[in-house]
Each structure stands twice: as structure tokens, then as C-alpha cells.
Symmetry: C2
Subunit: 337 residues, 2 copies
DNA sequence: ATGAAAGCGCTAACAC
DNA sequence: GTGTTAGCGCTTTCAT
């Protein structure tokens, strides 16, 4: 089929090994030989065959990035950040969608066929730490986010409690006192929701405000639509707030719609904060004040740790915290116009 | 390192070939042997090594899907549809982002390393048909979308002219007469923009309305923000419309914001249509009336054609058209409330 | 139905 | 600095 390294070697009148050396940029090759080989490569249109190399080295230069679903804007943006970070270290990224189901996550972790990727960046949704920590030991793994946190495994996240406190304090500083929390799961809470809710609660209590359970507006489904309904239902029941901390930007967008539908003004009547700083949060009307995690920092740390594992590092699990900022926009400005 | 097929063979007391037969579900294996081999596989924890198989077969079971950027919602949704369609045929999908640049697209087409993927689904942004048709003949390719259309290459798209006409006619049926077009490129128009604009123009002319160039609102950049500015500028210049056909949902979202900012009501004052039916278009306020391409149909056809090429089909380029629907929502309802 | 042997295209000791 | 020689783990004729 294609031109092989052997063909190039014969054409250039050198050995296989020399061609291999040239292709892999090995330094100890005389300039003349290198030039000759390169001409042969050009003239024959030779392209190295990935599979041969991979079989020989046992490396694929591929990293898996596993999360529920690329159509979730945060994950799409994460995926870009990771691709860039991985590219800088010579790796490419293979997306694995789990659909947020246990089976999906198990399939990813089980990794039934060996050698597809060199390692995996995994943002779990439902799988327990215990189960994750029992994954096949031969596949290096780094956990993204705050869900399951097996101690022996590397992990990168932002400080969710602290960020939620910042968002809540921002609303308090605006003079809001009846502040709700929206967008968490109606049933079993995710670790993400729990931590953000804890930060929300802490900020309120520090100001002497007792958090009211009636101001928690869960979403039937974690999506903008879920929040439209969750927040809408509460509003229709006559519950009133003057501030709303949303679990994520998608929930904030849903909340915005629910409020708009009922003629409630944002931020005048209700100030709203989101979380993730997805592109979309900049273009809503009003634009959304949000927690902006340092995505590229997160991606870089995660990829770096994973590559270290791939390269043989076998130390104890490292848990890294990356930065975030509160991005003040129209839905909860610094001071009301 | 890992357990090899040879290990399984020895453990089960059969030959390598027999194990291979069992692993690949070859039919002519006695039930007893098969059972024995499967037990060996289970007890040894054997997992087939992809690389060995790939080197031997020359197949990777990987398809590349190339487009500008996953954070564009349409592409994220396309990517899901393609993953599903490919999975049904035993393939996995590797995303290739081109950033919408010529270099990015060239890198994808050049495919400098052989054997990474078996074929490629490519949605070009800037590359010309001529250049695409000169791509390496040994990599099967299917083009997505309406940009470049080299005759010898398979392609799947929707009928953009007809869909744009439908959207425009919908606004006309609402009694709108000063209908603008928004969100196309300020400089060089993409084929996408051209076709959609042609459909818009045709619909107007069929109703005896002469399209006015002043009602074309280009975006500096193809993004919601670009449309916020493009539409905003026109409105500030005093230009008024009662309907707006947007090149895509992102532009419609930007237009919505530009109109909202100026207190112009949608749909009462201006009815708006989008394009793509991205998830987001359902949750804006008002939600967006949009052209909904049959994404899964598109993905299925595209993957099917690509796999046929991979399996050796060498006929002339096939150009397939898939369905779309006009989804009527709040931004341009059927009849005004 | 099963086994033996020859590669697939490349890398990596180890010589020279 | 360059060549020789083994594999990497699997599939695939071809025998049996």
C-alpha cells in the first residue's frame, strides 16, 4: 500500500535504522546522510505509519478526556483547553462521552481494549470514589472536578466552597438579603451542588442570615430548561427573592428566562450569579455575573500530572486547586445603575 | 507488561490462532474450545491490544471529524450525532479542530502521519474545493456542509436556499415587510451565507419586495457578540425592520440582545428567525424560531458514505441532501398573541 | 476445527 | 555515525 521505511532506506542507500533516526530527529546523524534521507522521504512521499510506531513503543500519544457530554458548554470549553494543553506536550485528545451514566463511566474506566490511549482525564458524574480507585492500575488517570475523590488518584479542581461564598457575598454587598440558591439536583445532590451550596450557606450565616430551605430551587433536570421550571414553580408559588446564586451558568440562563417571563427585572428586582463563565453567559440579556474558573490553568495542571504518571511517576495522589475569579457583569453588577 | 494472546493460548492449551478466532468471534470454533479459551481470558484478565490488531489489519476503526471549533454549539451537537452514527457502525470518532484557518484545514487534510484514522468527515470553512479535491487519495473523505464542493468527493448538506426561503416566507406570512438579514461575514462571504441570503432574497422577490442592501446587517465576527454589534450599529443608525432572518442561531441570539438593549420588542416589533436549532435557541427569552436540520440523518448518511469509501467504494462523488424543518417558537410565532 | 509460520511497519539494544 | 537483529501483539494464508 503505502511507502514504507524500508523503501526509503533502500532508495537512499542507507539502513532502516538510519531512516528511523532521521524521522525521529535523533541528533547523531551526519548532515549529509540526513539530507539524503530527507530527499528520499520527500521524493517517495513517505509518511510514517503510526501503528507501527505505536506497537513498537507501546505509546499512542493519545489522551482520553471523559465527561458526560460535549454539548454541555462547559465541557466543550474544557475540551478545547485540554486539547491545547495536551498538544503542547505532544499529545492528542480523544473525547469519551459517558452520558453521565454509571455504565458510560464504567465503560470508560474499564477500558476494555488495551492501548487505545496512554492515559485518561476523567470528570466523573456519578461514579463513586471507591469504584474509581479500583480502576485498572495500568491506565494512568487524573480526576477533574469535585465529584469523587479517591485519595490515591491525582485530581484538579477549584475551591467550590470559597467561590460560592464569593458569589453570595457579592449579592450581599449589593444589599440583597433574601438570596436563593437554584439549579441543584432535585434528588441525590452531586458533590458539586453540595459544595456550592455550602459556600452559599456559609456566606449567609456569616452575615447573620439564616438560610431558608424554601429558598432552595432545585431543577428537575440539570439544564436550562430544568431551571426554567424549577425557578418558575417557586415564583408561581409566591416565593420571592432579591438574589439568586445559581449552581451554574445554564441554571442562571434558565432562571433568567423564568424571571423574564414573569416580568421580574434582573438585576433590579433579582440579582443573579452563574458559574463557569461559558461563552453564552456573556451574551444573554442581561449578561451573567459568574464564577470563572481558570480553565487553561486547570487543563495544563491536569495534563501535566497525567503525563507525569504516564512517564512513570508513582507517588501518592496529588490534589491540586486552581484559581477562579468572580466576573461581574450585568445580572449582578457592582453597584446598581 | 500486559497479558498477551500468547499467554492465553498457553494457559488454555491451544494455539495462538484459536485464541484469535475466539476473540474475533470467528464462527468455526467448537463450543468446548471457545469456552476453555474464554475462561482463560477471564482468569488471566486478558484484553486485546489495539495496536497489534491495527498493525496487522491496517484499520484503526477511528474516524476523524474535522471542523473549526467544538465550542460552536452546532459543532458540539454535530459531534454527538456523528459519534452515535459512527458507533453504530463500529467506529469511534476523533475530533480535529481547525480553528477555521487555512493552516488548520490543511493540517487535517494533509494527514501527515499515516494510519491515525480510517477516514475523515470534514466541514471546511475556508479551504477551496480545488485544494480539497487534491487531498491525499488514500484517505477516504466526506464533506459536510455547503462550503467547498469538489465534484469527485462525497458530500452531505441541507438545501440552504430553500430553508432560507421558508424562514423568510414565515416572516412574510406574519405580515412583516421590512425584513432584514443578519449575521453574515462583513468581508468575504462564506458559501453558507451566500446560499442563505439567496433564499432570503428569492422569498422577498416572489412577494414583489425589492431586497434593500441597507437591510443587510453583517457581523464583524461570526459570533453572538459580532451580531450584537452588527445589528446594534444598524439600529443606532436609525435603520428599522419588522423582521430579521439570521444566518444562524448565534446571530439570532446576538440580534435578540441588540434589540432588547434598545427596548425593541421581539416578536411584537421585530420577528426573528435563527438557524441550526441549537439547544440554546430553546431557552432564550423569547425562544428562537429556527431552521432545524436533521442532524442525525445527516450524520448517518455521512458516516455511511464514508464507511463505504473505506470499504473500497470508488464511484463518483455523491452529493446528498438531508431534511430540515422550520421550528416555530416565540421569536416568530405562527400568529401573534 | 485447529496449528505453524510469516508478516504488518516501526523502534531499540547492541554491535561495529 | 550507522548497520544488524530482534521483537512489539496481532491477523492471516496455508497446512493438517
Amino acid at each position: 500500500m503505502g511507502v514504507t521505511m524500508q523503501d526509503v532506506a533502500e532508495y537512499a542507500g542507507v539502513s532502516l535504522k538510519t531512516v528511523s533516526n532521521v524521522v525521529r530527529d535523533y541528533e547523531h546523524v551526519s548532515a549529509a546522510t540526513r539530507e539524503r534521507v530527507q530527499r528520499a522521504i520527500r521524493e517517495l512521499g513517505y509518511r510514517p505509519n503510526l501503528m507501527g510506531r505505536r506497537l513498537a513503543t507501546g505509546r499512542t500519544s493519545l489522551l482520553a478526556l471523559a465527561f458526560s457530554n460535549v454539548t454541555v458548554p462547559y465541557f466543550a470549553e474544557l475540551s478545547r483547553a485540554v486539547s491545547v494543553a495536551a498538544g503542547a506536550l505532544g499529545y492528542r485528545v480523544l473525547l469519551e462521552e459517558t452520558d453521565g451514566t454509571l455504565e458510560g463511566e464504567r465503560a470508560v474506566i474499564a477500558n476494555s481494549e488495551a492501548g487505545m490511549v496512554d492515559g485518561i482525564l476523567f470528570q466523573p458524574s456519578v461514579m463513586s470514589s471507591v469504584e474509581i480507585s479500583r480502576h485498572r492500575g495500568d491506565l494512568p488517570i487524573v480526576i477533574l472536578g469535585e465529584e469523587a475523590a479517591p485519595l490515591p488518584v491525582d485530581r484538579v479542581m477549584i475551591d467550590n466552597v470559597s467561590a460560592a461564598r464569593d458569589a453570595t457575598e457579592h449579592l450581599l454587598a449589593l444589599g440583597r438579603t433574601r438570596i436563593g440558591f437554584a439549579g441543584h439536583e432535585a434528588g441525590q445532590l452531586s458533590a458539586t451542588s453540595i459544595q456550592r451550596m455550602m459556600g452559599y450557606q456559609q456566606a449567609l450565616e456569616e452575615r447573620g442570615i439564616r438560610p431558608e430551605p424554601s429558598l432552595l430551587f432545585p431543577s428537575g433536570e440539570i439544564s436550562p430548561t430544568g431551571a426554567v421550571q424549577g425557578v418558575g414553580r417557586a415564583l408561581d408559588a409566591g416565593i420571592r427573592v432579591d438574589g439568586l446564586v445559581c449552581r451554574d451558568d445554564l441554571a442562571a440562563i434558565g432562571a433568567l428566562r423564568a424571571l423574564n417571563e414573569r416580568g421580574i427585572r434582573v438585576p433590579e428586582d433579582v440579582a443573579v450569579t452563574g458559574w463557569d463563565n461559558i461563552e453564552w453567559s456573556r451574551v444573554t440579556f442581561p449578561s451573567i455575573t459568574t464564577i470563572a474558573p481558570d480553565l487553561s490553568g486547570l487543563a495544563q495542571r491536569a495534563v501535566k500530572m497525567l503525563v507525569e504518571r504516564i512517564d512513570g511517576f508513582a507517588g501518592v495522589g496529588r490534589h491540586e486547586i486552581v484559581d477562579y475569579r468572580l466576573l461581574v457583569r450585568e445580572s449582578a453588577p457592582s453597584a446598581l445603575a
